[in-house]
Amino acid sequence: MHIFEGFLPSPWWQAWFAISIPVILYGMYKMNKLVSERREVVPLLAVAGAFIFVLSSLKLPSVTGSSSHPTGTGMAAILFGPAITAVLGVIVLIYQAIFLAHGGITTLGANAASMAVIGPLVAYLFYKAASKAGMNFYLNVFLATAIADWVTYVVTSLQLALAFPSASGGVLASFAAFAGIFATTQVPLAILEGALTALIMKYVVQIKSDVLVDLNVLTTTAVTKLKEAMQ
């Protein structure tokens, strides 16, 4: 979903900064508060951040003949909510923009909005709604993270379409063209990301289920049931 340096004209890159920065600042406040109130979540926060590091470093080939990145943000969003995830996501984006010339500084706001803000928000909302409806935990994690990964790239397509409407068909035609590249390439990657996230969440349930209850990710009864199923 990286939009390269210089590939968003004014006022678009500024507008996406205006959307991302408040969320990131709020996320920093929330993260500080969480870490100072509950030291025991720090290892889990590190795992969620590291998961974004690993997944977003992988350039995976897709059936369309292009390669793209998974995002890895869904897990953090389910565990810590979208605001804290925005902080973790933007750290990775800054690393890639500065050391890898992947993405860019002026386009950081737009890339953060798609990968670190909107994608995680979708994962979080889906997870909460589906867990209220009683969906199986692993299926819920799988769907929430796969959808969030895919939505990230739909947002990127929209960002480019808004900045570059086509002469004949306007924003809609442009959106269809960009989504044709990003959204189709992303489908297999999103499925893989969902599966990997579900698996790592199983291990989190095994080792840190008490913290999951503290963070309101799962209820005590849900944890007991999941653990019984593991025996």
Binding site: G6, P9, A46, S62, S66, L100, L192
Partner: protein, 98 residues
């Protein structure tokens, strides 16, 4: 163990879609989708020149593909160490408390 089997099947299917993609796009080098989107920008707005911000020349840029892949590998390795260490630590702690 059931979830592990399902994930293994999905990983195999992922490999399958890749090999299918190789057959279906014999000339493709599987370049980045972000690059393809960049090409599309110049197709839609032929006159568009990506703006180069003033600080661009002060920024580090990997000299080539080798250094770039090194930095990507470091990123992945760092993440994997943190995940493996933390999960291993708590697993071991859980075992010794039994």
């Amino acid at each position: 163990m059931k979830l592990e089997y399902i994930v293994a099947v999905i990983v195999l299917l992922f490999a399958g879609q890749f090999f299918y993609g190789v057959l279906a796009n014999p000339d493709s080098e599987f370049g980045g989708a972000d690059g393809a989107a960049g090409d599309l920008v110049s197709e839609i707005s032929p006159g568009y020149e990506p703006a180069e911000p003033w600080f661009q020349k002060y920024l580090f840029e990997p000299p080539g593909g080798e250094t770039e892949s090194l930095l990507f590998a470091l990123q992945a390795a760092f993440g994997a160490i943190v995940i493996g260490y933390t999960i291993g630590y708590y697993r071991g702690k859980g075992e010794s408390n039994k």
